[in-house]
């Protein structure tokens, strides 16, 4: 049934039963189990893990496919649209909180634990000779490493992401004014900027590992640096994939000037990733 009347007199779309969710759960289970096995050096883990990844990609593809088809066949009205908006906003809020946890760790390391370890009480008893400084890999870390500077690739990356925010906004306006050509062009530019960002980030990592001796295991500096930028990079990748999907849909002629929630959701997500990067640039690279 599913279409029931809602307050505007239309019907709220309640989808039919389907098997995507259970497939998704099985996929997550396989990924978790496989991940654990792989981390504990059992090679079978990789099999389970990759089949989980494949299953979840398949599931997402089909699930979103179904949603897109429903949307294009006009099953969603204003109320569904608003539900999607609320849903996406809360989802982004949860992502913000995820990053907040890691920023919290960075804050703690810089403001609390490193200075504390270098305090008199500690340098007299446990960690002789350790002095306060940042970036720091802690008192037990003996190798030399070079911290990542802010004004090379990171600055370029900042520019890239900021301009991708601009191109995306231009694309959005184009959609609203129904200039399909401009829409596709600027959306494509956004994807391209995102892709360059990811490539540069990858180059920066390899540079860090091969020349700066800066690794995930370089004390708390390395930990926070790679985990924050790494999760961010992962989110950029996700965002870029979502942009590609939207681009393909645009090229297929999906969306209308007044009805394009998927576009907006991805745009919000992209701006969120942008803002996180600004935080990273200032707190991880610069200061």
């Amino acid at each position: 049934m599913a279409q029931t009347t809602s307050h505007a007199g239309q019907k709220y779309y309640v989808p039919q039963p389907m098997a995507w969710p259970i497939l998704g759960s099985i996929a997550l289970f396989l990924m978790a189990l496989g991940g654990v096995f792989a981390m504990n050096s059992m090679s079978t883990g990789w099999i389970a893990f990759s089949s989980g990844v494949m299953l979840i990609l398949f599931m997402l593809f089909r699930w979103f496919g179904a949603v897109i088809a429903e949307s294009e066949s006009g099953k969603y009205a204003a109320q569904e649209d608003l539900s999607f908006r609320w849903g996406m906003s809360w989802f982004i809020f949860s992502e913000v909180m995820f990053f907040a946890g890691f920023f919290g760790a960075l804050y703690w390391a810089r403001v609390q634990s490193v200075p504390d370890l270098a305090s008199m009480l500690h340098s007299e008893t446990l960690w002789p000779g350790f002095t306060e400084h940042w970036p720091s890999a802690g008192p037990g870390f003996t190798e030399k490493f070079t911290p990542m500077g802010a004004w090379g690739i990171p600055a370029i990356n900042t520019l890239l992401l900021l301009s991708s925010g601009v191109t995306l906004t231009i694309a959005h306006h184009a959609l609203k004014e129904n200039h399909r050509g401009r829409l596709n062009l600027f959306l494509f530019l956004t994807v391209a900027l995102g892709a360059v960002f990811i490539v540069l980030q990858g180059y920066e990592y390899s540079h860090a590992y091969s020349e700066l001796n800066l690794k995930l295991s370089t004390g708390v500096y390395g930990s926070t640096f790679f985990m924050l930028t790494g999760f961010h990079g992962f989110h950029v990748t996700m965002g870029a994939i979502m942009l590609v999907v939207v681009l393909v849909r645009c090229m297929k002629g999906h969306f209308r000037p007044d009805h394009h929630f998927a576009f907006e959701a991805v745009a919000w997500y992209w701006h969120f990733v942008d803002v996180v990067w600004l935080g990273l640039f200032v707190l991880v690279y610069w200061l």
Partner: protein, 378 residues
């Protein structure tokens, strides 16, 4: 203090009530100990004060509720009134609790400030938590330089139930911490492996021991005697078996104790250059093993796989001695196998390694000398 007698009365009333409920004698431990430091006494009073307060509120609130329960029943034909919302009432029941809380916060703040003031101690002792024992180093003040480990002394048989349990079951150690009466003792806590927590209820003291960090607390015991506590942060398998025992001695006894301790240390000090015989080394090693290694690897060397590997027949204990010395010196990261290099002397490590290589089914015949260990220290 004027309120003391009231507090005691309340305490007795509660005790009486309880004895009635449970039908057991009043000799049971059921209330906070009064303790032997000024701070515990403060905490004790604060606790009583809050208890009385909440009991009064509790009785008030539930008197009202039970009155309704009995008087406003449908079965008694009570008709429901339909009133709701009354700003005056609502303001009162928001503001009054707030004011009550200020009266609670005030004494709590005062006690807390006093508890955290670790300045100007007479004696400073570092307590290090290990899995699962305590190490004490007298850092400053009388007794400076004394250092020893303190391990559970309750025999295994009592725990397993094959022997009668003693009065201080699980609350007894081989070497208690010894401090003088009436002196401000500052305890620095730290840990070698995971978080432990050093606490003695009778002193009103509890402080986490965090690996890699130093935290501190203090007490001034006002009465001589023996006081007992336990590790109070889950630290793995034998968390329940690493008690803390503090002996508070009079000034003279304490001076005597420090003198004895120093003499003993001098006598026991090993000459790191001494060359040992196999039998002496094995005997010494067995002792070291029993106080440091049995908790995990067991007396029979069989360990408790898979958490704790057996040493009997193990590859390392039967392979090259260097690897064996290394793992004891440096431990193994991310496992509970600690780096014993910091706790044990070269002689002790040499001894325990020798022992492990020649005990149970291991017959390597290797004799490790202190010099071998020294050579492998970085």
């Amino acid at each position: 203090m004027a309120s003391k007698s009231r507090i005691h009365a309340a305490r007795w009333a509660m005790a009486a009530l309880l004895a009635l409920i449970s039908g057991t004698a009043a000799a049971l431990e059921w209330y906070m100990p009064v303790g032997v430091t000024r701070l515990t006494q403060e905490v004790y009073t604060l606790h009583n004060y809050v208890m009385i307060l909440v009991i009064v509120i509790f009785v008030g609130v539930f008197a009202a509720m039970f009155y309704s329960v009995f008087a406003h029943r449908k079965s008694k034909g009570h008709k429901a009134a339909q009133f709701h919302e009354n700003t005056t009432v609502e303001v009162i029941w928001t503001v009054v609790p707030f004011i009550i809380l200020i009266f609670v916060a005030w004494p709590a703040t005062k006690s807390l400030v006093a508890m955290r003031d670790t300045s100007n101690p007479d004696i400073t002792i570092k307590a290090t938590g290990y899995q699962w024992k305590w190490g004490y180093d007298y850092i400053k003040g009388d007794g400076e330089g004394i250092s020893f480990l303190s391990v559970l002394a309750t025999p295994r048989e009592q725990i397993e139930g094959t022997a009668e349990k003693g009065e201080h079951y699980l609350l007894e150690v081989d070497n208690p911490l010894v401090v003088p009466v009436g002196k401000k003792v500052r305890i620095l806590t730290t840990a070698a492996d995971v978080i432990h927590s050093w606490g003695v209820p009778a002193f009103g003291v509890k402080q986490d021991a965090i690996p890699g960090f130093i935290r501190d607390t203090w007490f001034r015991a006002e009465k001589t005697g023996t006081y007992r506590g336990q590790c109070v942060e889950l630290c793995g398998k034998d968390h329940g078996f690493m008690p803390i025992v503090v002996q508070v001695l009079g000034q003279e006894e304490y001076a005597q104790w420090t003198a004895d301790q120093k003499k003993k240390a001098a006598a026991a000090a090993d000459d790191p250059n001494k060359v040992w015989t196999m039998d002496d080394m094995k005997a010494r090693g067995q002792k070291v093993y029993e106080s440091n290694c049995v908790a995990c690897h067991q007396a029979n060397g069989k360990g408790a796989p898979p958490a704790f590997p057996p040493l009997d027949g193990s590859k390392i204990a039967n392979g090259p001695k260097e690897a064996h010395i290394d793992i004891v010196l440096n431990g193994k990261a991310n496992t509970s196998m600690a780096a014993f290099g910091k706790q044990l002397s070269d002689t002790e490590i040499a001894a325990v390694v020798t022992y492990e290589r020649n005990a149970w089914g291991n017959h390597t015949g290797t004799l490790v000398q202190p010099a071998d260990v020294k050579a492998r220290r970085k």
